[in-house]
């Protein structure tokens, strides 16, 4: 089921009568059968978007279509969606079985069929043994799976998940991540989930949608967005450690950072912001490169060595920070205090104009 949003806008009015555009003229098409991660910092409008798709919130402007059906004005129960809430919202007084059965009873599904479908769902999420327990007697991960089963049992057109992993501890998170991916694959249902955790989104989504201030910044396959960020915000939001951003300049088809030439370009002369991923540096053993720094700290973990380089004040032209990170292969023997010359991998180098838009 393809979900299409056209010019979607949601305005909240705060207590001081100020209007906040939580979702601002969003045009977005979510392809059928895919797992899509809506990603962004808190307050970016991702949850609002999800609730608009669910129908729990009503848009001020715009339209939502499921394939050819316009659902914009439809109440949530008519839209045929399954929603997993951040805190799961399992009914505390009902058993797992009753929780999963509840939507079917409301839809007046015949008793035998409802029973069979409940069992089928319990099997899908691996909770056959837990059917007669109350939510309180389950672990966080199990509650999560009940919530998914309850959302899926009515065979919705679309599955929506609101921060599905935020209430789980780190170990369960990894496990549940895989679980969600598996369930989505097995059912083939169009799934949208909301998260503020870029790693989470990148690891399980078929495509990610990055949002900021109610506006969509970029959409695409996780690696594609990571490799080709549309703007500085996306570049900075994805990737851990974060991308290093320097103040730079283009002169005579060369990119300079702090008067060190680091790469060549076809772009015209101008001031730019230079983004280089930590893994985009290579050590220049010939020491011919212009781009050199004194290393402050060396951390070697497994295959990688992280070099931490301090740049006090304005000198290095580093943005917002006093140090930056470089990840190189652990085979290099580098000590702190040493000065290292670097080359930059062109595909890991991104040039932005002063407004943060990618220069092409």
């Amino acid at each position: 089921m393809e979900i299409k949003m056209v010019n979607l806008t949601k305005i909240f009015t705060a207590k001081d009568k100020k209007e906040v555009h939580a979702v601002d003229h969003v045009d977005l098409t979510i392809p059928s059968g895919k797992l899509i991660g809506l990603l962004g910092p808190s307050g970016c409008g991702k949850s609002t978007t999800l609730y608009l798709i669910a129908g729990l919130l009503r848009q001020n402007e715009g339209h939502i279509y499921f394939e050819d059906d316009e659902v914009s004005e439809m109440p949530p129960e008519k839209r045929g969606i399954g929603l997993v809430f951040q805190n799961y919202a399992l009914y505390p007084h009902m058993t797992v079985r009753e929780n999963i059965l509840f939507p079917l009873q409301n839809l007046k599904v015949e008793k035998d069929e409802a029973k069979a479908r409940t069992l089928e769902m319990a099997e899908l999420v691996g909770l056959q043994e837990m059917l007669d327990r109350k939510p309180k007697e389950l672990s966080g991960g199990q509650q999560q799976r009940v919530a998914i089963a309850r959302a899926l049992v009515k065979r919705p057109r679309v599955l929506l998940l609101d921060e599905p992993l935020s209430n789980l501890d780190a170990r369960l998170r990894l496990q549940t991540r895989e679980e969600i991916k598996r369930i989505q694959r097995e059912t083939g249902i169009t799934t949208v989930f909301v998260t503020h955790d870029q790693e989470e989104a990148m690891s399980i989504s078929d495509e990610i949608v990055v949002m900021k201030d109610g506006v969509i910044q970029q959409m695409g396959a996780p690696q594609a967005v990571y490799d080709k960020p549309n703007n500085l915000f996306v570049a900075k939001f994805l990737g851990n450690p974060q991308i290093n951003v320097f103040d730079g300049e283009i002169r005579n088809k060369k990119v300079y950072v702090n008067n060190m030439a680091i790469a060549s370009t076809k772009l015209a002369d101008q001031k730019v912001k230079v983004g280089i991923r930590p893994e985009g540096f290579t050590v220049d053993n010939d020491k011919t490169s212009d781009f050199k720094f004194e290393i402050n700290l060396v951390e070697t973990i497994g295959r990688d060595t992280t070099l931490i380089i301090d740049i006090p004040g304005e000198e290095g032209g580093l943005l917002d920070k006093h140090s930056f990170k470089v990840i190189v292969d652990a085979s290099h023997k580098i000590d702190s205090g040493q000065t290292v010359h670097f080359n930059v991998r062109p595909e890991k180098l991104h040039l932005f104009d002063l407004n943060g838009e990618l220069l092409k």
């Binding site: 059906d69 316009e70 004005e73 439809m74």
Partner: protein, 310 residues
């Protein structure tokens, strides 16, 4: 396909409108039912006997037809009988008594409550939880059980002297037994407990005594709760009926509720003057309603707490 859903949307909106309208009508009806007795009280108090006895009853009265005489006559002096020389309904005397009793008992209650709540919330002592549980248990005991002995106690203390009871006797008898409230202790203790421990330890480090801490830190912080307790408790005297009637030997010592019943039935004919009766009811009801309009938030907050306490 799209058309089907457009229809759906209209149906949905109409349904929502109708269901909200039904709810509104239902609540409006209940509101009417709640208000009618007040209206009828006021209406009857402004009717003369002929109007009252008219069938079917008069539902509206022009201001020109209002019978203010009902109110005025309450203050006429009784010409004969045991209450000779007193006003028919000594509203101002009762009112004064009620206000005095209300103030004294409230001051006392707030005092005992603050001290006890502080001990239960802040201090450690052997048997604290057991004692608290016992006190909570007393809330369930019907008050009638205490009244029997309390009446005898009041008598033993000499406050129920049929020959020469003074207002001071009455005041003590009316207030002392009601100067404690386990519920208010419970309520205030909850508020006190929300004040972080660190504040207490910080004050201790600064050399503050417990009592200073209570006075300077806890009471100011818990003031909204204490105000709620004050308001709720002072309203209690307006509803007190049986106890004031029991321990007063003279009419002039009674409280407003006591004056309401019986005074308006002519002992000769057995006929009740409903106009006068309702006029007195209005006089008794009005101060309470005024109080409610002024302190609506505090009253409703305090009362809703008593429901959630379990």
């Amino acid at each position: 396909m799209a058309e089907v859903f457009v229809k759906n949307e209209k149906v949905y909106k109409t349904q929502k409108f109708i269901s909200n309208l039904l709810i509104f009508i239902f609540l409006g009806f209940v509101a009417l039912v709640v208000l009618v007795p007040f209206y009828w009280m006021l209406l009857t108090s402004l009717k003369n006997t002929t109007m009252i006895e008219q069938v079917p009853p008069i539902f509206f009265l022009k201001p020109a037809d209002w019978e203010i005489e009902n109110y005025r006559s309450l203050f006429y002096l009784v010409p004969s009988g045991p209450r000779r020389g007193e006003p028919l309904f000594p509203f101002f005397t009762y009112m004064r008594n009620t206000i005095v009793v209300s103030i004294v008992s409230t001051v006392g209650t707030v005092l005992t409550t603050v001290l006890a709540a502080f001990a239960f919330a802040r201090l450690n002592f052997k048997g604290r939880d057991v004692l608290f549980a016992i006190l909570i248990a007393t809330m369930m005991i019907p008050g009638e059980i205490f009244i029997l002995t309390n009446f005898l106690t009041i008598n033993k203390l000499g406050w129920y002297d049929i020959m020469n009871q003074t207002f001071m006797d009455v005041l003590l008898a009316m207030t002392l037994p009601f100067m404690t409230s386990v519920f208010y202790v419970f309520y205030l203790r909850q508020t006190f407990k929300q004040i972080p421990n660190e504040l207490y330890y910080a004050a201790k480090v600064d050399g503050t005594t417990d009592f200073q801490y209570l006075l300077k830190i806890m009471i100011p912080i818990a003031l909204p709760t204490i105000i709620t307790i004050t308001i709720l408790n002072s309203m209690g005297a307006w509803n007190a009926y049986i106890w004031p009637a029991m321990i007063t030997t003279k009419d002039e010592f009674r409280l407003v509720s006591n004056g309401l019943r019986g005074a308006f039935t002519d002992s000769g004919t057995g006929r009740t003057d409903f106009g006068q009766q309702m006029a007195s009811a209005v006089l008794v009801t009005l101060p309470l309603l005024l109080m409610f309009f002024v302190f609506r938030k505090q009253i409703m907050r305090g009362v809703s707490r008593s429901g959630i306490k379990g």
